[in-house]
Symmetry: C2
Subunit: 233 residues, 2 copies
DNA sequence: TGCTGTGAAGTGCTTCACAGCG
DNA sequence: CGCTGTGAAGCACTTCACAGCA
């Protein structure tokens, strides 16, 4: 499904990132591990809200729908956060994971395509709550340019490069119709971005160094439909 | 990441489903294959729009960002659709895949949670275009019940069971805040549904026979953020 | 004693390589 | 001759099982 750019190696020599030190243990971290870490964060936040201070790998794993060893192995990629015989301290584990992932600080994002979907994303308060802020919005429709949506002025896609620099944007979001997705991607790449979240139902071609993530509900719906068909047997 | 319910076997004896016969070749179809088939469908639809009548596995694979053998192996799970030395006929392959997946007919869905996210989903015209129709919407907020959203009346979650039967609903969508997700899931299960698409950022517990798919942008964003941090090295 | 951290074993998906057919 | 369909090989992730430490 996913195309790995075959260069996702970690170099232990350069593991000091941001203020906190993250002693990276291993060279290659599976993509699946990163996804699970996002799940652990959500589970740990819930535990924290419930006042739980310490948790061991098995209950945490169960809350996330995975195996206990999996949790321990995933965490081991980034360091030793647990206490043998006890478990993990919820707050410090949470801090360790978010720091390791680099989601303990703000990420500024540009949105291309201010249609239904784009507006829905702007309305989605969860982004800001998780340090992902949409700070620039763009569309190629002249009728939309200048409009104010959710406190942001819609800019012409041509202005992207300049605004990416001015606003310190690191991630681009594509929410255009499929036929305009490739053009939007090109604009994002030209503006110097190397991380793209693509909500359009189209594959896009980008240089190797650019990371693209596809969000596609239909993968999930097709899976449900297929297994629903199976389950009659 | 995903919990497989360890019973996704296909029985060749019962392979005649709907009108078209699908000679299933193998017993177990990887989840990843189903996801890719959704991608192939999108690519084939684009090719079809462009007037392409025949395509071979390698160009199709490239359009989908995968390996050619992968395409051939994925298709082989469902039958022999190609012509050796030539390739695949776009229209018949498209029909074969959608029939195999069971997405060549309508799927009726219930939505729980008519907030920002729920309304955005109702506005998303792509669902209907792909045979997935939201036909019942539910909320537990008394102020919302009775409201008309996108032509549908918001019903009390208590009415779910009855309406699932009346409206022939097969899939439930959870678009509530995380703290209400488990309750929504329980309602869906009680109403007899066994396929759930969960947009809330909470894991839900359901009986083994119920399939749950999680849609979570943050998995993707965390992945981008992490690799962005890596790429400086 | 209990739970973490981790090498080793197991599993399942992907890619290769080529026979087989149009 | 070209491309499909497929066994076999390769690879990556998951799970097991237990040493090691609090």
């Amino acid at each position: 499904m996913y195309l790995y750019s075959h260069n996702q190696r970690l170099d232990p020599l350069f593991s000091e990132y941001a203020a906190m030190n993250r002693p990276l243990k291993s060279k290659h971290i599976p993509r699946a591990t990163i996804q699970r870490l996002a799940t652990y964060v959500q589970a740990l936040e819930a535990l924290s809200r419930d006042g739980v201070e310490v948790i061991s790998s098995n209950p945490l794993a169960e809350a996330c729908g995975v195996n206990g060893s999996q949790v321990r192995k995933d965490l081991a990629y980034f360091g030793e956060f647990g206490i043998r015989g006890v478990g993990y301290q919820v707050s410090s584990l949470l801090a360790a994971i978010t720091s390791s992932l680099g989601v303990d600080h703000e990420w500024r994002m540009a949105l291309i395509g201010v249609g239904n979907l784009g507006k829905a994303l702007l309305n989605h308060s969860e982004f800001r709550a998780r340090n992902f802020n949409i700070v620039g919005i763009f569309d190629c429709d002249p009728f939309k340019i200048g409009e104010i949506v959710h406190g942001l002025e819609v800019h012409c896609t041509q202005d992207l490069k300049q605004m990416v620099a001015e606003l310190d944007i690191a991630i681009g979001i594509i929410a255009t119709p499929p036929e305009r997705a490739q053009r939007a991607a090109q604009h994002l790449v030209d503006a110097g971005l190397s991380s793209i979240l693509n909500f359009s139902l189209a594959r896009i071609k980008v240089p190797d160094h650019v990371q693209v993530e596809y969000v596609d509900f239909f993968h999930h719906l097709y899976g449900l439909a297929f297994r629903h068909g199976q389950s009659r047997f």
